[in-house]
């Protein structure tokens, strides 16, 4: 099974005193706030869940594995996720 945005909206709708439209708006806002935080290059720390870090990678020499040609890989920014201890514990419960 895969959890999607529609499932999140449904759960918010069922558990709070909001209309379906308000629940959808809240979930969309939650996600866009999280996204914009990372887009701004700011780390996102959610206690009990985990942290999303924006890491700056330096430019490096790489190789096209197919042709073997050397090329320069530009500097880039990537998002990494580290699960919190609490999340890891919950995922391993009942194992």
């Amino acid at each position: 099974m895969t959890l999607t945005k529609a499932n999140l909206i449904q759960t918010v709708y069922q558990n709070h005193n909001l209309t379906k439209a308000q629940a959808a708006e809240a979930v969309e806002a939650f996600l866009s706030i999280a996204k914009n935080c990372l887009i701004d290059g700011d780390d996102l720390l959610i206690s009990g869940f985990g942290k999303f870090n924006v890491k700056k990678k330096k430019a490096r020499r790489g190789r096209n594995p197919k042709t073997g040609n050397e090329l320069i890989l530009d500097a880039r920014q990537v998002v990494t996720f580290k699960p919190s201890g609490l999340l890891r514990e919950k995922i391993n419960q009942g194992k």
Partner: protein, 93 residues
């Protein structure tokens, strides 16, 4: 940004009081945690996806003492950043 700042931003964005934004945030996070705890994956367009990987037990070694130990089986969540977010984070570089 931390969780309480996220809750404040949510309250402002959708114009609801903090005492509502806070439980709504918890519902979203708990729903995600429960899905992962059940071994399910999460897929959110534009943001990213989470999958739980299962690891078998294996014999590891304490690198300091060299003593072999049995590492128990475990599950770990992995996040893969979505295409849109990946591109937009990189645009800020």
């Amino acid at each position: 940004m931390n969780k309480s700042e996220l809750i404040e931003a949510l309250a402002q964005e959708v114009n609801i009081p903090l005492r509502e934004a806070s439980p709504v945030t918890n519902t979203i996070l708990e729903t995600m945690i429960n899905a992962l705890a059940a071994g399910d994956s999460i897929e959110i367009r534009g943001f990213g996806s989470f999958v739980v990987k299962e690891y078998e037990s294996y014999v590891g070694r304490n690198p300091k003492s060299g003593i072999s130990i049995e590492v128990p089986p475990k599950r770990l969540p992995f996040f893969k950043v979505g295409k849109e977010l990946k591109e937009r984070v990189n645009d800020g570089a």
